[in-house]
């Protein structure tokens, strides 16, 4: 789960990291009031789950409260990478002497939290990694010991020659590391970590991604989810216990298992079609989930055909068949339905489907070919 910048700033602040005061607003008037309260120049920043906000015109400097409100009226409602801006952050414009990068990501290679710093901050760290990898310094932290003081100071000295500033940076790294474990973050970045002309070290922007698996045990973090920042179909799917990702194609896919779901999408493309979504109904076999899945898929006007691909293991074929039948009783399905179903309780499933007027295939390739043909017809 992605957090908004304003949420990430607040979490870092609570963990003792110096972040300038700020406020979030959703109208230009609120922005004007905040800018007045903060005094001086402010920066107005679109709060959306997308990178490249600056380039898209979603980050603006304002010299006066009126200018801040004017910027806000342009930014609020703007689309950035397909996402609508509903909120802006207003923060004091800080005079910056230098910009660095500090980030922690759970690293698959070392199987540890990887602390990364770069004196080339304020820009996309992936670009730095591609262009000048030697500018990124890394420590894979052993979580049994935590970030050790010399590791933080060693990285701090990669950012600043001044040992006092290096110690401030090290302290921020220690707190960022603690924050990761405290909030269940799989990624936490400060970019830029800025120095001011008077020697302060401040976090001016923050990005935190929460591991979805942490949400059950951290209700206070789960409560930070902003459903308005996601596609409505994905919100619906999550509430129904489905894993769903909206895509651009015309073949709606309903599969059990993430790997098989991806392979199904790939096969749709292989046979000349385009998947409309990723959808995993999961291992449990609850007819209601199938009903929800069909409701979400059929709500997408670009879907021209629906493909079921079920390999019954824990998932029972009869449950899926019942779900399909129940769905057709609850709402109209106006596009062709191609059903591939094999494995556990296959015979019962086919009996149920046949009785309801559906036919079912047992071969995956055959089913995908038909669905693509229907969608492209």
């Amino acid at each position: 789960m992605n957090l908004h910048e304003y949420q990430a700033r607040e979490l870092l602040r609570r963990h003792g990291i110096p972040v300038p005061a700020d406020a979030v607003a959703d109208t230009p008037d609120q922005v004007r009031a905040v800018a007045q309260r903060l005094g001086g120049k402010v920066v107005v920043k679109a709060q959306v789950h997308a990178g490249g906000r600056g380039k898209a015109g979603g980050v603006k400097l304002a010299n006066t409260p009126d200018e801040a409100a004017a910027h806000a009226s342009r930014i609020l409602g703007m689309q950035i990478k397909g996402l609508t801006v509903h909120k802006v952050l207003v923060a004091p414009a800080v005079e910056i002497a230098s910009e660095s990068y500090v980030g922690i990501v759970v690293d698959r290679g070392s199987q540890r939290p990887l602390l990364m710093v770069s004196a080339a901050g304020g820009v996309d760290i992936e670009e730095v990694a591609a262009a000048t990898p030697e500018q990124i310094h890394r420590v894979a932290v052993d979580p049994r010991y935590g970030l050790l003081p010399h590791q933080g100071l060693g990285l701090g000295l990669r950012l600043y020659r001044n040992v006092a500033q290096a110690r401030l940076a090290a302290e921020i790294m220690t707190k960022l590391y603690a924050a990761c474990y405290a909030v269940g973050a799989s990624l936490a970045e400060i970019n830029p970590l800025a120095t001011t002309p008077d020697g302060q070290v401040l976090a001016l922007d923050a990005k935190i991604v929460i591991d979805d698996n942490e949400l059950d045990r951290r209700p206070e973090i789960a409560a930070l989810r902003d459903a308005t920042a996601e596609a409505p179909s994905e919100v619906q799917a999550r509430e129904a216990g489905l894993t769903f990702v909206k895509l651009d194609g015309t073949v709606g896919c309903c599969v059990n298992g993430a790997g098989l779901a991806m392979a199904t999408m790939d096969l749709v493309k292989y046979y000349g079609g385009a998947p409309a979504n990723f959808l995993d109904i999961g291992g449990s076999s609850n007819p209601q989930k199938v009903v929800s899945a069909l409701r979400i898929i059929t709500a997408d006007p670009s879907v021209k055909a629906i493909l079921f691909n079920i390999f019954g293991g824990i998932t029972r074929g009869d449950d899926v068949a019942n779900g399909i039948v129940q769905a057709t009783q609850q709402f109209p399905i106006k596009v062709p339905l191609v059903i591939r179903l094999t494995g556990t309780n296959e015979a019962e499933a086919i009996a149920i489907l046949t009785k309801a007027g559906f036919s079912a295939l047992t071969d995956m390739d055959e089913a995908v070919k038909r669905a693509v043909a229907q969608a492209n017809a």
């Binding site: 290679g109 939290p113 059950d216 895509l247 790997g259 790939d266 990723f278 293991g313």
Partner: protein, 289 residues
Amino acid sequence: MSVFIDQHTRLLVQGITGRDGSFHSRQMIGYGTKVVAGVTPGKGGQLFDGVVPVFDTVADGVRETQANVAVIYVPAAVAASAIYEAADAGLGLIVCITEGIPVLDMTRVLPFLHERGARLVGPNCPGLISPTKSKVGIIPGNICKPGRIGVVSRSGTLTYEIVHQLSTHGLGQSTCIGIGGDPLIGTSFIHCLSAFQADAETDAVVMIGEIGGTDEQQAAEFVAKGMTKPVVGFIAGQTAPPGRRMGHAGAIISGSSGTASEKMAAFARAGISVMKRPADVVPLLKERL
């Protein structure tokens, strides 16, 4: 021989009285797995289905039954604890079926296992099966046939699909291993490839990867350098968009890394026959055998 499990596997089930644990324990017993012990704190002294003794702790179960493998079906909130407990009781192979363990928990669990020389398969995996010898986990026994193909996969049902192709075309399996779809897992492709290379009963390996991470690329390097047996590979997620988690916590393209195309290219460079679709597995294997 087979890989990691065989007819000598004496299985202890953590969470044997739970919903999933009891269902799959019955499946495993039905398949012929020697399920010698179950663990549910507070139910020590009971018999599961009148047959399998239940213990309060893994240590008790191991002491009383000489179990040598644990399989975990407990809820995500206590699954990391269950892994610690199994390793602390001295079990050398621990199979964690449970999905949803926070990745930061795994950063602590993995060194604990490493220090004890214990192997974890998973978490968030379907487990292992050595057809006719032993089944540990949830892979449907009826789709597998005994034979000489090793299968290793990050996925569940996609594996069943491919194993089904193998079995219906007469290519039985020595062992099928689901290593799990999480970003941090105990047993990598390389561990399994290395075991299959060493296994006298395996002639060729099918490796089923997906987007996210670089495990497949490293596995490809291992194949190029260290394997003489033929390998056929598949990567799921060619159509997955970057930055979105495709079901599995580990199936995510980060920036431009972890894509299906880079993994397939690595496979090809390493001499692995690359499947374009699941149905390619049989013809490609037959070409190489």
